[in-house]
Amino acid sequence: MSIIYFLIGCSVILALIFLGAFFWAQRNGQHDDLYTPSIRILLDDEPKDEEEK
């Protein structure tokens, strides 16, 4: 069953990658504001047509 060590290794490495990503997100301030992003995606960024004015 040596394969299981290989698979556990792969899984652990994957988990470490995700853990790294999590720490990056944490320190990058990705989790500082857990409300505004949910509202922001609702706004479209269509250019304000100057011709219309």
Partner: protein
């Protein structure tokens, strides 16, 4: 500061959308054809290229990688641009990704009916296509990370995290499960054997469900559902929490596909524990989605896209509740190998993946064509016939699964099997199979109506190929030059970060791989288990080509009901020369692990020629072409050499002698058949497959008789 003006690429989204609909219809049509074959074998049109064993993988690959795959890319290419407030990184990469993916699908459509398969479920494609998949996936990755890097929005919305997890994990899973040794351009052997191969396959298999059918769809749900309802997600905090929980837990649920097999018990328990834990993050997603609609249920009444979303999320909730339950050993003992599993996956596939895809298509196509949906009535019709289709599909399959699972296990008061004839349990569930195909046909009808509706919508509008948008450029982060740590600097260079991670993965992989490939495995070996003879090896490859393992398992669980029916339960040491393993996951027909010596050669000959001759009412297809086609023995030396590389102990130089042994054994079987007045040349394929079937499980039987004497 001036806002940047830029354009979103809608054409690539449209192209993936068209591919989604076309491949969806094809994949579901193939599904309907094989569903009908399960009560009307003649539906294979007496043609080897359209028999169940060969086109069942075509169905699964088409709906998973072609229908759902294209839908994922459609959703990602639409939402990623808008979430990152930038166009996709490179148009040429988008195009390469699109056409590369379609090329992969077309090669699957050609090779699978020809019987070129690795036999690993959902990873059937042979090695050249595996390499192509890897290349296209990398193209997709560069395009996605490039887009994320040049984003104009600092915060990475939760949907994008789901997309990143999808990319990274699928890359690793695909590579690990495709470690195969090529024999020729169209044939390869899995490097791992038996139990080890089984574990790799189901580690992959379950995570394919997790990271191809689940995470990208959750990401899409987090973007499209708030947009459709025009209200923010119920709890953004919950979405972040359930994302991290989900990706950390999912990876080890795989072994629940191998309960009661010869996989070590602790690995099975590990799979069960992780599967049970999965309930929490899975339901976190479903609840978050459904609660987004709180106070807006009046919108659901009028808006067909929201209706699809609600049923899709409910199906996701049901499937992710059922999954952990099925991974409990007691439940699994009844459910495994039966139609229950088919019902389970179709609630997920038809409900969750299908309905979310339809909702997104109905929402997105009118938007990029700057028009209204052509017909709300048709969309509403699609919703109702689709929902009824799922019910008509799933309910009969549940009944069928419970019925057959319980019939297999039932004993009379005297202690003998109540239904010793497997065929009896098959015939009992045929009415359910008929109803299931009706449900499937209803669902497919809905999809065709959708295709017409979307076509008309596109025809009445005009594609906005490049949609204008503007956003403020991202402010530069103040760099504290000199004081920041190296990791901090690395983080700001995502490409470097990605390459670094890849190197770490590769080093880890090699360190882990070396022992597996060099040290002999600690599976208990059994002295009487010998490598396959050349003829049996060729027969085994025919068994793989015809996809026999799609309907016949080769693993006997240690239950009295199974040892009574099939014989001695499976031992890990029996599979050490099985590259790949052929345990199967479904018993549409009986288990074959102890098939060897059960019947005479002539029984097998007649049975393969016309199964209904020997077992009236059988739903197995006829394999008459095995009688006419000549066995290709030119491949024998290469196959023997490949097996030697993989550690199968054939004597040195045996590759040159193998065909002599093959001819001798084939002659013996042909002579044996001649005694029963069956005249067939010894160089036909049927001889090889009979040799393999007669060998199955006999190593242990031989041992037992020797001990008894």
């Amino acid at each position: 500061m001036q806002p940047d003006k830029f354009y979103y690429d809608n054409k690539i989204v449209r192209n993936f959308g068209i591919a989604t609909v076309i491949w969806g219809i094809i994949g579901m049509l193939v599904g309907l054809i094989i569903a009908i074959q399960l009560y009307q074998p003649a539906m294979n049109m007496h043609n080897q290229y359209t028999t169940f064993g060969r086109i069942r993988p075509l169905h699964t690959n088409a709906v998973i990688f072609a229908f759902v795959g294209n839908a994922i890319f459609m959703g990602i290419y639409y939402s990623l641009q808008r979430l990152m407030k930038t166009r996709m990184y490179r148009d040429v990469l988008s195009k390469l990704h699109f056409w590369g993916w379609q090329l992969i699908i077309v090669s699957a459509v050609i090779t699978l009916p020809l019987g070129m398969t690795t036999s690993h479920e959902y990873a059937e494609l042979e090695w050249p296509i595996d390499i192509l998949i890897t290349i296209v996936w990398v193209v997709f990755g560069i395009n996605m990370f490039g887009t994320i890097i040049k984003r104009r929005e600092r915060h990475i919305y939760v949907a994008v995290w789901f997309y990143i997890a999808t990319f990274v994990t699928i890359a690793v899973l695909h590579i690990v499960n495709s470690v195969e040794l090529p024999v020729s351009f169209t044939k390869s052997y899995m490097v791992f054997a038996g139990v080890q191969d089984a574990l790799v396959q189901w580690w992959y298999g379950h995570n394919a469900v997790a990271f191809f059918l689940t995470t990208p769809y959750l990401g899409m749900m987090y973007y499209f559902l708030p947009k459709m309802a025009n209200r923010p997600i119920y709890s953004y905090k919950l979405s972040i929490l359930h994302f991290w929980a989900l990706i950390f837990i999912y990876i080890w649920a795989g072994p629940h596909h191998l309960l009661y097999t010869t996989l070590p018990g602790w690995a099975q328990s590990l799979g069960v524990v992780f599967s049970i834990m999965l309930l929490a993050p899975s339901w976190g997603g479903m609840i978050n989605g459904l609660l987004t609609l709180r106070g807006a249920w009046d919108k659901v009444r009028d808006d067909v896209t929201l209706k699809f979303m609600v049923v899709g999320l409910t199906a996701y909730g049901m499937a992710t509740f059922e999954g952990p339950m099925l991974s409990l050993k007691q439940v699994n003992a009844i459910g495994h190998f039966t139609d229950w599993i088919i019902a389970h996956v179709h609630v997920g596939a038809l409900g969750w993946n299908g309905f979310l895809t339809f909702a997104i298509l109905y929402w997105l196509i009118p938007r990029i064509y700057k028009t209204e949906l052509y017909s709300k009535k048709m969309a509403s019709f699609h919703f109702w016939i689709g929902t009824l289709g799922i019910l008509f599909y799933a309910i009969p399959m549940y009944i069928s699964g419970f019925t057959q699972g319980l019939m297999w296990k039932e004993f009379t008061p005297e202690g003998i099997l109540r239904y010793p004839n497997f065929l009896e349990t098959t015939m009992r569930i045929l009415p359910m199979h008929v109803m299931r195909s009706v449900g499937g046909a209803m669902y497919l009808t809905g999809v065709i109506v959708m295709a017409v509706n979307l076509y008309k919508t596109a025809a009445q509008g005009k594609l906005v190929a490049n949609e204008a948008a503007e956003a403020m450029p991202l402010e530069k982060v103040n760099a504290h030059a000199g004081t920041e740590r190296w990791h901090r600097r690395l983080e700001r260079k995502p490409i470097l970060f990605m390459i670094g991670s890849l190197i770490v993965i590769l080093i880890g992989t090699f360190i882990e791989l070396m022992p597996t490939l060099t040290i002999s495995s600690n599976i208990p070996t059994i002295a009487s288990v010998k490598p396959y003879t050349p003829l049996e090896l060729q027969g085994r490859d025919l068994y793989i080509r015809e996809g026999c393992s799609n309907c016949h398992s080769q693993t006997i669980r240690p239950f009295r009901s199974e040892t009574e029916r099939y014989g001695e339960y499976s031992k890990a040491g029996e599979f050490v020369y099985d590259h790949p393993f052929l345990w199967g996951s479904k018993r549409t027909g009986p288990d074959l692990q102890r098939e060897g010596g059960k019947y005479g050669d002539s029984w097998h000959y007649n049975h393969l020629m016309d199964p209904r001759l020997m077992s009236p009412g059988s739903i197995m297809p006829e394999y008459s072409w095995l009688i006419h086609q000549k066995l290709d023995t030119t491949t024998t030396p290469a196959k023997i050499r490949a097996m030697q590389v993989l550690g199968v102990p054939y004597p040195a130089g045996y590759d040159k002698l193998a065909n002599q042994d093959l001819d001798k054994q084939a002659k013996g079987i042909a002579d044996n058949l001649a005694k029963d007045k069956i005249r067939v040349k010894s160089n036909k394929e049927i001889i090889a497959i009979i040799a393999y079937l007669q060998r199955l499980g006999t190593d242990i039987k031989a041992n037992k008789t020797a001990n008894n004497n």
